[in-house]
């Protein structure tokens, strides 16, 4: 090969690498979708997008992977500031009020067909963000989840146990299922020391993070109870606090479960399909146990349209979102991943097809929605999560610092730094646990 040919080849290859995002076909309205799913969920999303692009001649959606939720959010924010944001992305629920109040999100209520979207109420944040709350629709639920328990079916059978239904039973099951001796020690229980699971514990102990009057209570005594449970389990070596932070710790939990190093874990329903397909033992999903009551938060992300995107891109993004929310796509997404079907239509389609009879594990998260707590409309919520709670949970569990002391400190910090006035009173049904929303 001559040097010139080699140079030309290298330049072409370099150019292809730099511009590795596919180009928009001529005559189509392009829409960039920045997303955060990895692995199996990413493949499924890309397949759905490809199906959409083939299904019609006018719009071309281009999915761009941007790292995990927090990395994607950081990039999105920087892109917004630089005026280079995509038309479409998805963000965790806790950050939606913050972005909306910063004027970044496009109000979607007046787009064609917005009124017809029949979201499962707790997944669409009915009452606090959408319908019933006097503010426009700014976020559409897409990959929505609840935390659930996963158990190693083989070990459970050997120990002749049922999935734990209360905190006491959880402790006993962790004791019975763990084994600290032998060549392959095993933890009875493992759960990321993460805000999301702590919110579940607070709800189960009868508390809520933000009171209906807007006061940031962090659950009061219930907040401490949640931390104390973790502290006891870790102290008695019944639970492994996974190393790493954020999603790194979640990944450790999954891997420990799959490798048989943990008998029972709490994590998102999002990993249902992944765990089922990769475990060499039967995987049993179970609802989280109760303490004084049953309660779980919802998680996952919402699709958002960026306000500063060009009008035709926003309209195209909306068309894609409508298509994604049709029952068929919603069902494919839910059954392929483990995330919840977000529209009532999708739920009835799954029921008609007898899907839940065949896949009882998939039913667990959906049934848990009966006791789901909706997130309040609070601009500070993600700051409370990241700066106030998350570091203190880790501290309490790993160093044994008294839980009540840490939560007092957290409340003082939250009030000083953030001000509880940032929460809109009245609209925060904040953890209205116990509402039977599915019956609506």
């Amino acid at each position: 090969m001559s040097r010139r040919a080699w140079l030309a080849g290298s330049l072409a290859a370099g150019g292809a690498l730099i511009g590795c995002a596919e180009s928009i076909p001529k005559g189509r309205q392009g829409v960039d979708l920045w997303f955060s799913y990895g692995g199996k969920n990413r493949q499924l999303l890309e397949r759905l997008v490809a199906r959409y692009n083939e299904s019609q001649p006018a719009i071309w959606v281009r999915p761009v992977f941007q790292g995990d939720y927090f990395e994607c959010l950081a990039k999105l924010r920087t892109a917004v500031a630089a005026g280079a944001a995509p038309a479409l992305s998805h963000v965790v629920g806790e950050v939606v009020p913050y972005l909306a109040e910063a004027g970044v999100l496009e109000p979607l209520s007046d787009y064609p067909g917005a009124g017809e979207l029949d979201f499962v109420p707790s997944l669409g944040q009915a009452g606090t963000w959408a319908r019933g709350a006097a503010r426009p629709l700014v976020a559409l639920p897409f990959n929505r989840s609840t935390p659930i328990a996963y158990l190693n079916g083989k070990l459970l059978k050997e120990a002749r146990l049922e999935p734990p239904r209360s905190w006491d039973e959880l402790t006993e099951a962790a004791r019975a299922l763990g084994s600290r001796s032998g060549a392959a020690p095993r933890w009875g229980f493992e759960c990321p020391i993460d805000w999301w699971f702590w919110v579940a514990l607070v709800g189960q102990a009868g508390g809520q993070i933000i009171e209906p009057n807007g006061e940031l209570s962090l659950g009061g005594e219930a907040g401490a109870q949640g931390v104390l449970l973790w502290q006891r389990l870790v102290r008695d070596r019944l639970m492994r606090p996974p190393p790493g932070r954020d999603y790194n710790a979640w990944e450790v939990v999954n891997q420990d479960f799959l490798a048989g190093r943990a008998a029972m874990i709490w994590t998102s329903t999002a990993f249902l399909r992944y765990l089922e397909e990769n475990a060499r033992f039967p995987v049993l999903a179970a609802p989280l146990p109760k303490h004084t009551r049953r309660a779980v938060p919802t998680g996952g992300t919402f699709f958002v349209v960026l306000r500063r995107a060009p009008e035709d891109e926003k309209r195209a993004a909306w068309e894609f979102l409508r298509w994604m929310n049709q029952a068929e796509q919603s069902v494919d997404w839910a059954t392929g991943t483990g995330y919840l079907p977000v529209t009532k239509q999708a739920v009835s389609l799954l029921e008609t097809r007898g899907y839940y009879q065949e896949h009882p594990n998939d039913r667990v998260a959906y049934d848990q929605l009966e006791v789901a707590m909706t997130w309040p409309w609070s601009r500070s919520l993600f700051r409370v999560q990241r700066e106030v709670i998350q570091p203190r949970l880790e501290q309490a569990v790993l160093t044994g610092t008294p839980a009540r002391e840490l939560l007092d400190e957290a409340r003082a910090l939250a009030r000083r730094e953030l001000g509880s006035s940032e929460v809109s009173p009245g609209t925060s049904s904040g953890a209205s646990s116990g509402r039977r929303e599915v019956a609506e």
Binding site: E71, R77, V104, P185, P242, D246, E394, L398, T399
Partner: protein
């Protein structure tokens, strides 16, 4: 000499202009902008709000500044001392001819060339509480530590990984230094009855001092800028025990969306690095003076 003298007084200026322009655009402007932004509360989305020195005050009052500083300092001290000691030890062992020594030297140096992320992933596997190292320690009948999960241990685990990676670099510099030591000095000392320890103390170490100063300052600066191993292996945890300076900046801006506070950290960090650079210049001069 007259050829080197500029014909016009302005000649040096335009010759320096390209470099000055690059420095201005990519260094002075961002730095000035960081200083300016450190006086604001800003999340990139809503308009910035002037808060004076509040960001600095908050960093001091919350203990974040002192914690990032002491964490970084502890990490750096362990890394610098460890890398120098290991580098010197390896250099003395491998300062000989032969293909085998050459192979070992290359093998050790190769760690320095490998990407930080690969190294971090490899060591995560080794240092997991149920990983290889813990299995070996258990096999010896000892109780393994939770290398990355214990707040009292994690920082030193990261320091050990960093030493493992950069010791090859220190070794190469020390090898060059050792080869500069005239063999006649050792011969004369041996004739005078000096043993290996005395020869090291009175010949090798004093003559390696400029090299040591150089190795010390460069690894000090490199260890102050540590980020990759922290990002991959511990994300600043457990309980902030590995939140070094650069990671704290990253966390403030990208996780907490606090540009002002991150900028304040940048300004303080810049001043610290400026001090370290002065130290490095001094060490360079010492080396040049000695040679």
């Amino acid at each position: 000499m007259s050829l080197l003298r500029p014909r016009r007084a302005t000649d040096p200026l335009w010759m320096l202009a390209p470099t000055l322009l690059l420095l201005a655009v990519f260094f002075f402007y961002p730095l000035g902008f960081a200083v300016y932004r450190s006086l604001f509360r800003w999340d990139l989305l809503t308009p910035p709000e002037y808060v004076g020195l509040d960001n600095y005050r908050a960093l001091i009052e919350s203990g974040e500044l002192i914690s990032a500083f002491t964490t970084t300092l502890a990490f750096s001290l362990v890394v610098v001392v460890g890398a120098m000691a290991l580098g010197l030890g390896l250099a003395m062992l491998l300062n000989r001819r032969g293909a085998f020594a050459g192979f070992i030297r290359s093998a050790i140096f190769s760690a320095y060339v490998v990407s930080w992320v690969s190294v971090a992933l490899l060591w995560m596997w080794v240092l997991d509480s149920q990983g290889v190292l813990s299995a070996w320690v258990s096999a010896l009948g000892l109780t393994p530590l939770d290398w990355l999960g214990d707040p009292d241990v994690a920082l030193y685990s990261l320091a050990a990984v960093t030493i493992w990676k950069i010791a090859g670099y220190a070794m190469v510099l020390y090898l060059a230094g050792l080869q500069d030591v005239p063999p006649v000095l050792y011969e004369a000392a041996a004739l005078d009855g000096a043993g290996p320890i005395a020869r090291f103390r009175h010949i090798t170490w004093p003559l390696l001092r400029p090299t040591s100063a150089f190795v010390g300052t460069t690894s000090l600066i490199a260890s102050f800028q540590v980020f990759d191993v922290v990002r991959v292996m511990t994300q600043g945890g457990p309980v902030r025990s590995t939140t070094v300076f650069v990671y704290a900046i990253y966390e403030q801006i990208f996780m907490n969306l606090r540009v002002g506070r991150a900028s304040a950290l940048v300004v303080v960090f810049f001043l610290m690095l400026l001090g370290l650079t002065a130290l490095q210049l001094w060490a360079w001069r010492a080396k040049r003076g000695a040679s």
